[in-house]
Symmetry: C2
Subunit: 208 residues, 2 copies
DNA sequence: GGACAAACTTGCACCCACTGCAAACAATTA
DNA sequence: TAATTGTTTGCAGTGGGTGCAAGTTTGTCC
């Protein structure tokens, strides 16, 4: 009577979820992510609109179909990295992992193009990334032995994310350099400092 | 027959816009930004819902009521800063200007609290900030004499923004240090480098 | 000052993302 | 096999937002 992994119910749920995600991505690529409707996606996956929302809280989530393994892998990488590996180096590996989905042969993948072309997709990605960011920051602070509200871990995680985003935008505007070249340059700048001449304190005192 | 500044039409438009923005902020603070409806805001400002959308493309825009002068001041600062002032120092002054709205006596202002408490407000702010960011990046690249698609100007602007956001989040979670202290620490880290030991190249070669 | 044009407001119908509720249906358990 | 549990679905509704056209207000010209 009992089935192997999870039973018929569980298997059907996974199938439905996959069907919705597939349909969403396909139709978003065909029609544009802001043009395709939830009704079209649900119909293509052979479920009702109401059921769609049992699976995904927002239309964009179905299109993005973020793989929860990404965050898991990132947190795992954070925990198991060699002790001598510096924090930003770990973030570099994590970001490169994320880029697998967004880049292909130095160019934006179709999925990457899709995300960079739609404010609502970018929104949902950025919002959910904020949550990931908080978890990564907590894991990094723990690894660095710093208290939870420290500036440096939060800054490393958030600026690594900002660098990734900026690099993709730069590449979209002017695709003459591979994305990974741009990313390496950005990470090296972050590592060594983006402005050795920074100095509002001295200047401020001079003017007051 | 002619009136002074802009005529009756222009004056009424400004008044309506201000009334909508005032009502939006007041009601958002009273009821919560995600709870207040456009109908309530329009009614409080004595106009129709349809008219509301003649003024603001999204509900959040009315609540945020971003002052276009902020970007103008920032771009002006970028153009007129002393030649010897470094790029990140300029961004520091710009971010401190923005913080006037979000912080008061080292604590988050009510407006700052509002923004940090609502994903949809944060979204609209982040999205519109992306547009500002692009303009600031272009202005900074020009000032630095770098081509439009360069990594460093984009990185300076985007990481300054990320630092501002992160600092506010850190403060919200643990309000024991003034916001400006946190911000100064973040900017100094960015300036001098967040990770001197960064080195995936060396490590990568060692493992391959 | 009246006629006319331009600009703005408003009402209306509609679209679409999303939610709560309960009946119907399918899978699982006793 | 009947009872229980979990899932789907239909339905009504909310609220943000859009296009269109009629009504109203302001500005211009004679």
């Amino acid at each position: 009577m009992r089935h192997g992994e999870g039973g018929l119910r569980e298997r059907k749920k996974l199938q439905t979820r996959a069907a919705l995600a597939d349909a969403a991505l396909r139709l978003a690529l065909e029609k544009g992510p802001d043009q395709v409707t939830v009704e079209e996606i649900a119909e293509a996956a052979d479920v009702s609109v109401r059921t769609f929302f049992n699976y995904f809280p927002h239309k964009e989530y179905a299109i993005l179909a973020r793989n929860p393994e990404h965050l898991e892998r990132a947190l795992e990488r954070m925990r198991t990295a060699p002790a001598e590996e510096s924090p930003l180096t770990t973030m570099w590996f994590i970001v490169n992992d994320v880029l697998r989905d967004l880049e292909s042969d130095g160019q934006l993948s179709r999925r990457g193009e899709l995300i960079m072309s739609s404010p609502s997709l970018l929104y949902q990605l950025m919002l959910s990334s904020l949550d990931d960011e908080r978890q990564l920051t907590a894991a990094l602070a723990e690894r660095m032995g710093e208290p939870a509200g420290s500036v440096r871990p939060a800054l490393i995680v958030s600026t690594a994310g900002a660098a990734c985003r900026v690099v993709m935008e730069l590449h979209k505007s002017a695709p003459d350099r591979p994305i990974r070249d741009l990313l390496d340059e950005a990470f090296h700048l972050l590592a060594q400092g983006i402005d050795a001449a920074f100095g509002p304190d001295h200047q401020k005192k001079g003017t007051s």
